[in-house]
Amino acid sequence: MAGVSRLQYTPEIKTVRIMCTGRIDPAMVARAFQKGLDGLMVVGCYFGDCHYISGNVQAKAKIDMTRKLFKYIGVNEERLAFRQCSSGEASVFVKLVTEFDEKIRDLGPLGGDGDRVKAPEIFGKLKAAEAVLAGEKIRWVMGKRTPFLETGNMYGEIFTEHEFNRAIDMIIVEEIEVQEILAKLKEGARSVKDLAGDLAIPSERIFRYITALKRKGMVALDNVTDRSPIFQLVPQEV
């Protein structure tokens, strides 16, 4: 409606049409940032007013989770926003895009002063983020969010939003660390101690992840050097 009302806003904003914000896939979001996007605003209907009933509720939950993950990996989470306005509220839309544009201008390009982690390291982090967001664990838990909060798990236990978010926080840390280990091992075989040094993660935790990855058949023992086992990636079928 901004166009029909001839309300002017910045040409920096480009739009990608989706039928409902429910279509927003966090993995795609991380991929876009990794490819050089500086800011993404998802604009959906108001809650209770969703043309697709509840797509916006799912989108908000996914964006909230992705923002947590961004914050954790050192990407300023303000670069990703979920906002709401109705299709008739031209002036609200213009206000939203104008504010967002100003925010992103303040932050500057991705991996600059606006972010805790700088370029080019930030792109590696985003690659790990994409793998996490495309991965089974976080998607499964996010998919179960509504049932967990509303009808409970298979034992009928209903979770509070707080409990659920705490679980998500933990999963984000674990999943990112696992992806970083896998990325490191892709560069070459390493020992637990090497990985702990490279990634600044305590070696007990690395050891736990490696054991789990070994059990899943994703990592295997390569050789033993100086009484230290060296692990390598097992090529996965695509």
Binding site: A2, G3, V4, R6, L7, Q8, Y9, P11, K14, T15, V16, R17, I18, M19, C20, G22, R23, I24, D25, P26, M28, R31, A32, K35, G36, L37, G48, H51, Y52, I53, S54, G55, Q58, A59, K62, A134, G135, E136, K137, R139, W140, M142, G143, K144, T146, P147
Partner: protein, 564 residues
């Protein structure tokens, strides 16, 4: 035919000037020169109006003569013009879903009117993004499904009865479900109906007779709908009747569950005797008022337009005025006062009724919600905001005008039908202006006070309207659905976990046992293509036609290429 294999993608880009709406603010020549350079683009043309007959013919000619297998129109908004351009492609022999629209008017020339250079650069970006997506578009076939010519009407009040009769007269079978012992709903409790002062019982009997006598209508009283499965054209409802649960196949559903008068417990000394509601007043009027009643005070907006119920129930003013007139008619020397905040008397006849009431001596006293009237045993004290002083009105009877509220079981009904309710518990239509009698879910319609408090005339109009809307798919016999829906793109990846099934707002997904084990199945006519399932699936097995991961990524990637 133009639908070639992937190696040979030939995209035609048509750039619309929209008169001066686009051409007046963007550099059109630069746009068409730029479009020529984009990958897979084999033909670019500018049109004064792409949507004019000439423009449409150019698009068709382009498809036929240039052997185009993808069409991009850079013009206005898909909301208004996508169907037109799609059908032009189809007429030229191109699958209509190999068309992509780029909005360089509403999203560019109209919103960057003072920045020709930046606006043109943005338009280039948008065209590049559209072309990138178009290259990956795949043909889609429209989905057709049969519609069972039987309607389920839930609620046997005026709205439900009106809709049922209207549908039956058109030759459709109707199953009418009423939870009470008798049909009639709220009408059964009313005396006379304003502004015409018709007897409610006359109208009700007339409606009931029509229902009972119509061979096409089956009525289940003291019954409830307990479960609904399926989708437009092929719903199956479980109806709990006096003689057990009946399973009925239906094509469409009409919600006419009405509203409920709010009972003002604890407000203004409500006791159901000396302080009553308008609904209780209807009964007194029907029985004939006790001639000892000489002083009647009515208080408006009791339990409405407050924090708990912020809405105006909008029919209570008419009811109060009507009952004030009827009181005056029965006891001409009675004093009747209406204490109001604002009088909601829309419509010519209601205005007339309002004037009549004043002519008959009904007094109107404005009160301020900050200083509400006080009811005492034999009087009401009210601060008259216009006179600026407190008045004491003697009373034999205080009548409270309370709002209609959503029925207690609206939440359950909403869950059974998977249709939304608003913040006040009333059912929410698909769109305020475009689909006022439809739910967002196809094949389910609503009318009467189930949506919002409505007076008799509105209820009848809505009942007829909803019946008319509901008869569209039934008269066609089939529904055609846009194929922009979820598809199981990678069947092997699907583990049949059901994560998506639980999240689907339309009940469009189900798990089926196949040769390959448990797999999700998309009920194509029920799916709306919101994408929640595709964005959630951890196996990336589901996708959305015309909005696949690859297509959206191509669009984003094209945006991030900076080649201008």
């Amino acid at each position: 035919m133009p639908e070639n294999n992937d190696q040979d993608i030939r995209i035609g880009v048509f750039i619309c000037h929209c008169g001066s709406n686009i051409a007046g603010y963007l550099d059109m020549e630069a746009l068409s020169d730029y479009a020529q350079t984009l990958p897979n683009v084999t033909f670019v043309q500018r049109n004064l109006y792409s949507c004019s007959e000439g423009g449409i013919n150019e698009i068709k000619k382009g498809v036929e003569e240039q052997d185009l297998n993808r069409v991009v129109v850079a013009s206005c908004t898909p909301r208004t013009h996508e169907p037109l351009f799609r059908s032009s492609c189809e007429e030229a022999g191109l699958n209509p879903y190999l068309f992509e629209m780029v909005n360089i008017r509403d999203q560019c020339s109209w919103v960057h009117m003072r920045e020709k250079e930046d606006g043109t650069a943005k338009a280039k970006d948008l065209i590049r993004m559209g072309v990138a997506k178009a290259a990956l578009l795949e043909p889609q076939e429209s989905i057709t499904s049969d519609v069972c010519a039987r309607a389920l009407v839930i609620g046997g009040g005026l709205a439900g009865m009106t809709a049922s009769t209207a549908l039956a007269r058109r030759g459709y079978e109707v199953v009418l479900v009423e939870k009470e012992e008798n049909l009639g709903g709220m009408l059964r409790r009313l005396h006379k109906l304003g502004p015409t002062m018709t007897d409610a019982s006359d109208l009700m009997e007339e409606k009931i007779q029509e229902i009972v006598q119509h061979a096409k209508i089956t009525v289940f009283t003291q019954s409830r709908v307990t479960a609904v499965q399926g989708f437009i054209g092929k719903f199956e409802a479980d109806i709990e009747t006096q003689s057990g649960v009946k399973k009925i196949d239906i094509g469409v559903i009409l919600m006419a569950t009405g509203g409920r008068a709010f009972v003002p417990e604890g407000l203004y000394g409500y006791d159901g005797q000396r302080v009553i509601t308008q609904l209780e007043m209807e009964k007194l009027l029907n029985n004939g008022l006790d001639s000892d009643i000489k002083n009647v005070v009515m208080i408006q907006c009791v339990g409405s337009r407050n924090q708990e119920r912020p809405y105006c129930s909008r029919i209570c003013c008419q009811i109060a005025v009507k009952n004030a007139i009827l009181t005056k008619d029965q006891i001409p020397d009675a004093s009747v006062s209406i204490l109001y905040r604002d009088m909601q008397m829309y419509g010519v006849e209601n205005e007339e009724m309002f004037r009549d009431s004043k002519a008959k001596g009904v007094r109107y006293i404005h009160y301020d919600p900050a200083r509400p009237p006080q009811t005492e045993s034999d009087q009401v004290r009210v601060y008259h905001s216009l006179l600026g002083r407190e008045m004491a009105l003697p009373t034999d009877l205080v009548v409270l005008s309370t709002p209609l509220v959503a029925p207690e079981d609206a939440g359950i009904t909403s869950q059974i039908l998977r249709v939304p309710v608003d913040e006040n518990g009333f059912f929410l239509e698909g769109h305020v202006k475009l689909k006022p009698l439809d739910f967002a879910t196809d094949g389910i319609f609503l009318c009467g006070s189930a949506r919002f408090p409505a007076n008799i005339r509105e209820v009848i109009a809505q009942g007829l309207g909803a019946a008319s809307r509901a008869s569209i798919p039934m008269s066609k016999g089939s529904v055609v659905v846009e194929p922009i829906i979820s598809v199981l793109a990678d069947e092997d990846a699907c583990r049949g976990c059901g994560l998506c099934v639980a999240l689907c707002p339309y009940g469009a997904l189900e798990i089926r046992h196949t040769e390959k084990g448990r797999k999700v199945h998309v009920i194509d006519v029920a799916c709306k293509g919101c994408g929640v399932c595709a964005a959630t699936c951890y196996q990336h097995a589901l996708t959305i036609n015309s909005y696949t991961d690859q297509q959206l990524q191509a669009q984003i990637d094209a945006f991030l290429i900076d080649d201008i």
